[in-house]
Structure formats: C-alpha cells, structure tokens
Amino acid sequence: MSRGNHRLNLFLLLCVSCVLAILLFGFVVVRRSRVPSVAFLGVKPKPTTPNLKIPTGYAEAPASTDQFNSRPPSGEPTRFSAEKAIRAAARDIPAAAASKRKPRANLLYFRTDASADILGKLAVTSLDALDKISYSSELSCARVHFGGGTGVCLTREPLANGERRGPDGLAFLFGLASFTGYSAVVFDSQFRSVARNINLNGLPSRVRVSPSGRLAGVTVFLSGQSYAALKFSTQTTIIDVGSGKVLADVETFSVTRNGQAFQSPDFNFWGVTFAHDENIFYATLWSTDKTYLVRCDLAKHAAEVIYEWVECPSLSPDNTRIAFKKRTGFVGGPAVWRISLLDLRTLTATPLGETRSVDDQVEWLDNDHILYALSENDKRRNIWALPVDPNGSPRLWLAGASSPAVVSGTN
C-alpha cells in the first residue's frame, strides 16, 4: 500500500473518530440534562412549623394551573428534590381565592442555580419558609426582578403567550448572526406571562422593576463581533412594562457633572435602581476607565453625576442609602469588587463586611440586610445575606440560587 493511501486511511479514521466523539459527547449532554446528577440542595430544611404559611398573593394560584411544575414523583428517595418542594407547595395552595390583589407576603423570586434539570428556572419562595420552593415549569431566566405584582425575566427562550419565534425570516437571521434571541418576559405572581415579550438587543445583564411594577430598567451587553475583539458595550433602557415600549435609552440622556455638561462617545450605562418616585432612578456610568453614579430624571431625560466608582447601585427600601459594588483591584485579570454602602444624605461610602469579590447587583432584604449571589465553584451560585454595617459578616442564605428579588409585604 502506498504512503499516500496509508495517510488517507489515517485521515478517514480521524474523521470517523471525531464524529463518534461528538456524538458520544452529545449523547452524554442530552442524558445529563434529562437525569439530574446533582441533587437540588435548597436550604437545609429548617425545623419550621409544619403548616406552610402560604403568602396571600401566592395563594391566589389555582392549584390546577400548569404554570407550576408538577412532574410525577421521581424514583430517587434520597433527594431533597425540587419535586418534593413543588408537591408540598401545590398541596398547600388553596384552589379557590382568585382575587386581583397585589402580593402582600414576604416573597423571594429568584433564579435557580442548581442541578441541570431545573437550572435557570424561575422560582419563588416565602421568606418565612425558604425550603418551600415553587418553580416555573416554563420560564428560565438569566436575571429576574419583581415589583408591584409584576416580574420581569430576561430569558433566551422567546416564548410568549404561546407564540414562539420560529426559524423564519429576518428574525432568524438576526438571532443567528447576533446570537441574541433574548427577550424580557413580563410575568405576574403566578408566573403567567401578562404582556408581550420585549426583544432584547444583547445578552441579559441586569434588570430592575420599579416599586409599582410599571417600569423596568434593563441592561444588556452588546457583544463584540469576533473572537479577537472581545469588547463589550452596554445598553440600558427604561421600558414601560405594560406596553413593552422603550421609554428611554439612558445613553441619550444629557449628563451633567459638577453642574457642567459631560459627554463622550464612549459612555456606557448599566445597573438601574428605581426610587419610590419612579421618575428618579440611579445607574452606573462608565467613561474612559472610570465609573460614576448618576441620578437620572426620566421625564427630563437628564442625568447628573453624584459620586464616583460606583457600579450596580441598589437603593435601600427607605431610599436613603445605596449599596453597590466598588472596583478595588484590576491586575490584568478579572476585576475585584467590594460591596460598599453609600449614604445619600452625607455622600460618604463605607466598605461592608464581605471580603470576597462580589459581581452582582445586590438586593435589599430589608433596611438592614442585603442579598447577593456568589459563585462557589464553577457554575453553582448561592445567595448570601449581609448586614449593612462594616463589621457584619456574610452568611449563606439560600443555596443554588441567584438574582434574588425581594417582595416585601409592607410595600
């Protein structure tokens, strides 16, 4: 046999083995996504009262609704499983009671960050019984927030009211080329989609819903086009949740700094947080390697720089302080962020008691505690709670969860 033939055979062998490798790997991926290999580890079941106190708003769900996941029991007895929690919740939900009241209870909406079968699923739990979790069977979210009876979930799955974006026309081409196909789904306390989906221009980054549930501030990353150009820019828009209309692109706001106009083509905005007065919101502005805290006026389309080195601001429930991440290190690698607190009355910032780098827009649990997600290892993230004083120490609050959104019964 000639040398050329020998090499051709070798090449064919290589092709066949590569195809087999891809198929095998694909098979494993498919299997793993069906049968979860890691058990969901909610929080450790606390010895709470046997009767789950069902929050009012939550109890409005008819038990028959298929928005809640109600899969048949799994054959694995050892798992503290999603199924168990779901069945527990479903059992406890009174079937009647269909009022239109806003949720009064203390709820936490979040994204699950646990085993493969429920990874990314939108979930809700009661702040009084964190181990009772209900999952949406349909909605998977990259980020989620909730306010005034309305939630916004930034998701890749463009399902809305039964409509699916098929592989047709320009939309497909856009999705293909840009890889975005992301949208914001507006849902109510029952995980039902209640408005048209809002198309997103890029990768979901941050979302905040205003206290009334009327507005949402959404930040997406517009990615670079190629491997070589890994540059990102952000786009932050204020959206009217009901109509899906974009009310403002923060980049079009006229910005002032120390009373003077401040502008540059390299402006990037991200991380909105709404005040009680929904016309006012805060956000991060980036320009030439520096970040600023801006106070924005939606009606006037204006923004004013009020502080420096603030990223992902989050207003306290009493609107007097802002918790944020402050960049402290940048040594050729990833940035290091320290959770800090800015008092808006005195404009003084103090670092808080979390010493690990936190890359999240924090959420206020109440006026004295904040919540944020931290990666423990490669993928799983957990929600931690931290008292807002410099000596407070963080504690693990909810495992396998991220993007917390607190709904407090008092507001």
Binding site: S140, S178, F221
Partner: protein, 422 residues
C-alpha cells in the same frame, strides 16, 4: 529567477482578450489540489474558531458568570503586537527549515488545542485569557507558511485565483461556524461544552487535512545562498518591488477603519437596532465569499494592482456614503455589499502580489513580514480612529480617514506603478 517562470511563459501565449473569457471558469481546474486542501483546512478551522467565537460572549456572561466590565475593556494592543512579531519569527523558521507545512500545522494544532483547553479551564479567568491568547498565537503562526504553500503550489499567473479560492473557502467556514453553534445551542440550550467539544473535533479534522493530505510543496531547486533569518528577511525591504508593497499595504492599513467601527457607524447612521451589527458581519462575509473568486480571476487577468487599488476605492466610497447626511435603510445592504467586495478585492490579491515579488527561498519570511506590517498598521489605525472619535466627532474621524485613504491610494498608485504590469 523563479522556478515557475516557464509556466508563465506558456500561459501568456494563450489569449486573454474578451471580457467573456475573462473569468474563464473552467480554468479553476488548474487550481492546485494543495490549494483546495489548504482551503478545506481553513474552512474547517474557521468553522471551529467561529463556532467558539460566536458563543464566547454568551459563554462568558451567562455560563461562567464573568462580568464583561471585568475584562471587556482590556486592550488587546500589546497582545496584538506580540502576535505580529511571533508570526514574523515563525515565517523565518519555516523558511530556514523549509518546512512550511509543519509550521502551519503547528499553528492549526495550537488553535485546536485551545478549544479543548477552554473546556478544561472552566471559569479560572487567567487560564481563559491565556488560552484565548494561545489561539491568536496559533493564527499568527500559521498564516504566512500557509500562504507560502498556496503560492508555491500555484503557477505565477494564477496566484490571485489560487488565493481567492482559498479565501472563499476560509470565509465559508466563518459563515458556517456561527450557524453550527447556533443550531447546536438551539436544540440543546446551555450545551456550551458540546459546542467546545465539537469545535475541537472539527479543528482536529482540519489539522488532519493539512497534516495527512497536504504535501509540502517542493522548495527552490538548487543551492541556498544563505540561511534565512530575521535579519535576512529584513533585507527584503531593500528590494524595490517588495518594499513598495509593504509601504503601500502599511499606508492603506493605517487608513482602514476596523470592521467594528464601520459597522458601528453604519448602525448609528441608519438608526438601526444594535442587534444588526453582527448581522452586518455575517452579510459582509457572504459577499466576500461570493465575490472572492471573481475578483481573483479579474486580478489575474487585468492586473492585480488595479483590482487591489479598486478594492480600496470601494472602501473610500464606503467612507463617503457614511458621510452622507441622509441614509436610507437600504443603504445598509449597499455598504455591506461594498465592504464584502472590498475584502474580496484586497485580501487574497495582496497575498498574491506579495508572493509574486518574492523568491521561493524567502517566500514565507516575506509574507510574514508583510503580515506583521499590516497588522501593526491596523493596530495604529484602531487606536487612531478610536481617539479621533472619542475626542472629536464621528464625522471628524471619517473625514480624516477618507483623506488619509485617498492619500494612501495615490501613494500606492505611484509606487506600485513603477513595477511593470504582470
């Protein structure tokens, strides 16, 4: 002087008059099998790298939970310069050992390995950054030896055709890559690891094509005058024809706004959604792929210099369109079509022109030297354009680049005209 001169003489006897015969499709048969195989390698490698490239932002942000602000504003300038210099060294070594194939294969191997490494690296940021740099090094290493192999296995008067065939296949891979990744993730969301794995396997098959199926083109016959070295390759600059090309390519490169800026300008001028920017890149690639071979044929028939400089005139036309006060949304298609045509008329043709001025002995070094010059000038251009845009207005930047490009084209016409037409 050149071993392939006899082919030129034979071919030049054939008629080349009428426009109808200009494209002369059946002659694509004469494109060497080596070129087709190298094209196949590039196609597979591009599928592999664009697959990963298109999902990388999503993978980083949504899978590994990196915050782009943490790494997105890092500048790639020092990295770009390092890669440019490394590619020069690899070109010289390929000439010295007369092993273009092995050096190119090493570059392809490095890129294929970077995919599997990415899979293994998980979310350790420094590792991920290093692996991405490795991939770029691989690309820098392989380009010049591969182009040298294309030129060494093609007759001298068919060089542009050969390069255009290669570039068309290469671009086809760049189109298929994102498509493959998109379809994979569409059916299996979150299966990023599968995409990385598939990308590695496709890259491996590409490596297999060059390693197992491509033969090293026979080198120059006769004795070598001296051992190729970086210093010797720099003496190439003393040769008038090569120097003219390097100067022209460098000057034109500085006046060329990077793709990203063109797309951004186009998007903001037409007030289209920012989501259309990646679509521009996609459509440009399609036009590039379709127009590459016709442009290469025309270049071989009508003169490579003419087609090359017409390509840059198209770029100037794009600048002028971008300076228009009003732009309809249909203009977007016109601009991306022009941009694809610009690529088709310049990229492969420049490699062909350069190869034609270089002896086989220092072919790789010379190509690498030219690549280094163009990539450095592109870096300068990016910094310049970004600075102009940030400190002034968009129009200032485009005007400056239009004037600069016009000057560069005039200089190029003058210095390239000193060569006798091929």
């Amino acid at each position: 002087m050149y071993q392939l001169d006899w082919v030129t003489r034979i071919r030049s006897r054939q008629s080349r008059s009428e426009l109808a015969k200009t494209l002369d499709w059946p002659r694509l048969r004469y494109v060497s099998p080596t070129v087709w195989k190298l094209g196949l390698t590039s196609l597979l490698t591009d599928i592999s790298s664009e697959m990963v490239g298109s999902i990388l932002p999503v993978y980083f942000v949504l899978h590994l939970h990196f915050s782009p602000q943490g790494f997105g504003f890092l500048d790639g300038i020092s990295q770009g310069a390092t890669v440019a210099l490394l590619s020069l060294i690899s070109g010289v070594l390929a000439d010295r050992w007369r092993r273009q194939k092995e050096v190119a294969a090493a570059g392809y191997a490095l890129s294929a390995l970077s995919r599997i490494a990415l899979l293994a690296a998980g979310s350790v940021w420094t590792l991920v950054a290093g692996i991405l740099a490795l991939d770029r090094v691989g690309k820098g290493i392989r380009t010049a030896p591969r182009d040298a192999m294309i030129s060494l296995s093609s007759p001298r008067d068919e060089l542009a055709t050969a390069f255009s065939v290669h570039r068309a296949l290469d671009t086809c891979g760049a189109i298929l890559g994102p498509l493959t990744a998109f379809l994979l993730l569409r059916s299996l969301p979150e299966a990023f690891n599968l995409v990385l794995m598939a990308s590695f396997c496709i890259g491996l098959v590409g490596l297999g094509v060059i390693w197992l199926l491509v033969d090293q083109p026979s080198g120059p016959v006769g004795l070598r005058r001296s051992t190729p070295s970086v210093r010797l390759s720099l003496t190439l600059l003393a040769e008038q024809r090569f120097r003219a090309l390097v100067i022209a390519a460098g000057a034109l490169g500085i006046a060329t706004a990077s793709d990203g800026f063109i797309y951004l300008l186009l998007q903001s001028k037409t007030h289209s959604s920012v989501a259309s920017i990646p679509l521009y890149a996609f459509l440009t690639a399609i036009f590039y792929m379709l127009l590459s071979v016709p442009a290469g044929r025309l270049a071989d028939r009508w003169g490579r210099g003419k087609i090359f400089l017409s390509g840059y005139s198209l770029l100037a036309l794009i600048y002028i369109i971008l300076l228009l006060p009003q732009m309809g949304s249909m203009m977007q298609f016109a601009v991306v079509a022009l941009f694809g045509a610009y690529y088709a008329a310049t990229d492969g043709v420049l490699a062909a022109m350069t190869s034609a001025t270089l002896g086989a002995e220092l072919r790789t070094s010379g190509l690498a030297l030219l690549n280094t010059a163009t990539s450095l000038s592109r870096l300068v251009s990016s910094i310049l354009f970004g600075w102009l845009w940030t400190s002034g207005a968009m129009r200032t930047a485009v005007w400056t680049f239009l004037l600069g490009l016009s000057a560069a084209v005039i200089i190029s016409v003058l210095i390239l005209a000193e060569r006798k037409p091929e």
